[in-house]
């Protein structure tokens, strides 16, 4: 039971962050390597709020949303938009994305070091400790937060005029701008939301594992696994992808580390990575890209023929 709850909480974090990864991918068709560091920024915002303002990390969720959202917005305005306007190709954008990642991660290291020396307390490997039994409050809070965010994001993107315009602008910019939608602003809003969600995910991270400036980067490839599994062009595919990846990692290593295999639990990250590599080679467009109908008809035809 403990394992299932832990898997659920871990999946919530992945779901919240990979929705944003998919959203930014749709806007510029570039994998945002810095998305993991936006999660770390959220975690550090919560830590700073808890230590300096003395509030609980949960109360810092809006702050984390703003901090990571602003970082994402800044990277859009300072890095991706200028390059996109210069007609940069996908590889150039990917190099820029890698650079942004290195800048953010190195800055977080500097921040952690400076805070450690100036406040005389540890800003690396920190945890938000909780007393209590198996069902600790963060599992409940992260699940409720994830559900609320998914529902409100769905309502926003599908039921409000602005949300529909936003989807139109990121999915088909030329058509959207032809009917008067401000594509650039819509992209900026997408980056803000994407960063913000990563920040919210970051608040829950230190409840689970010791967090340092490398935490988000380590999480990034799992987010990619979730996003690709759900289909990089489907925002809500990331929800399914996130839960599949999170559950399969935590439950998978629980099963593999027991008898008969007795594998070291340190192989944990290998599970989502292996899923991702296999997925990219077999069905790179994710679950939403598989033509289920054709697959089913082909299979049934095969059965008929063999029968």
């Amino acid at each position: 039971m403990n394992v299932v709850l832990d898997a659920l909480a871990f999946s919530n974090i992945i779901v919240l962050s990979s929705i944003g990864l998919t959203l930014t991918y749709i806007t510029l068709k570039v994998p945002n390597f810095a998305h993991g560091d936006l999660v770390t920024i959220g975690a550090y915002t919560a830590l700073a709020a808890a230590r300096l303002l003395g509030i609980t990390p949960y109360a810092a969720i809006p702050l984390a949303f703003i901090a990571s959202g602003m970082a994402a917005l800044a990277s859009y305005y300072l890095v991706y938009r200028p390059l996109d306007r210069r007609g940069a190709g996908i590889v150039t954008l990917m190099i820029a994305s890698m650079s942004t990642e290195v800048i953010l991660r190195a800055s977080l290291h500097i921040f952690a070091d400076v805070m450690t020396t100036s406040t005389k307390s540890y800003w690396r490997g920190f945890l938000f400790r909780e007393e209590g039994g198996q069902l600790t409050s963060y599992i409940v809070v992260s699940t409720i937060t994830a559900i609320l965010i998914i529902i409100s994001l769905y309502l926003f993107l599908h039921r409000t005029k602005y949300g529909v315009a936003l989807r139109a602008a990121v999915e088909n910019p030329s058509l959207a701008s032809a009917i008067g939608i401000d594509v650039d602003k819509a992209r900026a809003v997408s980056w803000l939301i994407a960063g913000g969600l990563a920040g919210v995910a970051g608040v829950f991270m230190p409840f689970r594992t010791p967090t340092d400036p490398e935490t988000g980067w380590a999480l990034l490839l799992r987010m990619f696994a979730a996003s690709v599994l759900g289909g990089l062009d489907a925002v809500f595919g990331a929800v399914i992808g996130g839960y599949v990846i999170g559950l399969s990692e935590v439950l998978g290593i629980y099963l593999l580390s027991g008898p008969p295999l007795n594998l070291s639990t340190a192989y944990r990250p290998a599970i989502p990575f292996a899923i991702l590599v296999i997925l990219l080679l077999i069905a790179p467009r994710g679950l939403s890209g598989v033509e289920w109908r054709r697959l089913l008809s082909r299979m049934s035809r095969g059965v008929v023929r063999s029968g």
Binding site: K29, V30, P31, V79, P82, L83, R86, A88, G89, I90, V91, T92, M94, I95, A96, M98, S99, T100, E101, V102, I103, R105, A106, S107, H109, I110, D113, V114, T117, S118, L221, F224, A225, V228, S264, A266, Y267, P269, A270, F273, A274, L276, V277, L280, L281, P284
Partner: protein
């Protein structure tokens, strides 16, 4: 004086390793247009095979107790001792030491080439972004396996590698670095010959217009496989050299940051121009080594390397915006006269993509 000398030796050693990495990426991306975002995987492959085999091979010659070599739990503890003893034994047998040096380079290149051929499977099938993610993830998978599967390089502890140049006595370091520079220079010559051959021209044709190259009868798929195999073999040999230079292999060193550094060198120096890639490598390594030397003199409340990474990241983004062709842009091939090119539409657009 002695300090300056050892600084220059270290610079030459790291430069010769990164020159090979930068040139291999330049061959793949600069000339062939193949964005290899998993460079560290091939580098690690060469380092891991050297770490896994060299100490064991050397330990067997002077007759170390076989259980110390083959029993992983014992090898984990005694590998440093075995490496030191191995260095002592090799000090009396320079011929064997040099043979092992060459053998390890070949093995590293072989493992690199093998991984490169594996990587060409997604490379011919996936778009750049998916390919980038696949290669980064594959590199991380290799690192995770290496840090957990202890028989390879003793897991997180790392494995010691004997000094193959102990026979040279006080000149050991000088001759070691000299051999590395020689290997690296040979690679430069090899790559220069390759990119100016019909193969190199086909490679550039594939980069500029893949469909056109294919329509002229160039086997684009085979070209990609070959290029990734050659580029990765060079990276593998560089990894092997890295292990032999440092005298140790630690799995966790091989993170995607290394890939970023190699990309930085190539894009900064100028993709599609070998002199540019070398200049990029020299610039990065030069500053990096100087920072390591003067680190203790800089009064900062944090590690100055982080500041260096931040500055380099900003510099790379600015370069992509204002000078995407790099410091030394690609020059037209030897077969054209420059006048012919300048009137050509291709003249303005030098960087790939």
């Amino acid at each position: 004086m002695a300090e300056l000398f050892s600084f220059l030796l270290g610079l030459a050693a790291f430069y010769s390793i990164y020159q090979m990495l930068a040139l291999s990426l330049n061959l793949e991306y600069g000339y062939g247009g193949l964005p290899n975002f998993g460079k560290v995987m091939f580098f690690a492959g060469g380092a891991f095979v050297t770490g896994a085999l060299l100490t064991r091979l050397v330990a067997l010659s002077p007759g170390a107790p076989p259980d110390m070599v083959w029993d992983v739990s014992k090898f984990k503890i005694y590998n440093t001792l075995l490496a030191t003893r191995g260095s002592g034994y090799l000090a009396t047998n320079p011929l064997l030491a040099l043979t092992l040096f060459a053998l390890m380079l070949i093995l590293g290149a072989g493992v690199g080439a093998l991984l490169g051929i594996l990587a060409s499977y997604p490379a011919v099938r996936l778009r750049e972004d998916y390919l980038g993610v696949t290669l980064i993830v594959s590199g991380e998978l290799l690192r995770i396996v290496a840090r957990n599967y202890e028989p390879l390089v003793c897991g997180t502890l790392g494995v010691s590698v004997p000094n193959l140049f102990a026979w040279a006595g006080t000149y050991s370091e000088l001759i070691k670095v000299g051999s590395m520079v020689a290997v690296s220079t040979a690679t430069v010559l090899l790559i220069n010959i390759m990119v100016n051959s019909p193969y190199g021209r086909a490679l550039r044709a594939m980069r500029d217009q893949e469909a056109a190259a294919a329509s002229l009868g160039k086997d684009v798929v085979l070209l990609k496989i070959k290029t990734l195999a050659v580029g990765s073999a060079i990276a593998g040999a560089a990894g092997s050299m890295y292990a032999m230079y440092l005298g140790a292999v630690v799995a966790d060193e091989f993170t995607p940051l290394k890939t970023f550094i190699v990309w930085l060198m190539v894009v900064m120096g100028g993709a599609g121009n070998n002199a540019g890639a070398c200049l990029g490598a020299l610039t990065y390594i030069g500053i990096d080594r100087a920072l390591t030397l003067f680190k203790h003199l800089i009064p900062l409340p944090f590690d100055v390397n982080y500041l260096y990474y931040t500055v380099m990241g900003v510099a790379l983004i600015l370069l992509l915006m204002y000078r995407p062709e790099g410091i030394l842009p690609e020059r037209p091939g030897r077969l054209y006269a420059t006048t012919e090119i300048s009137s050509d539409s291709r003249g303005g657009q030098a960087a790939p993509h």
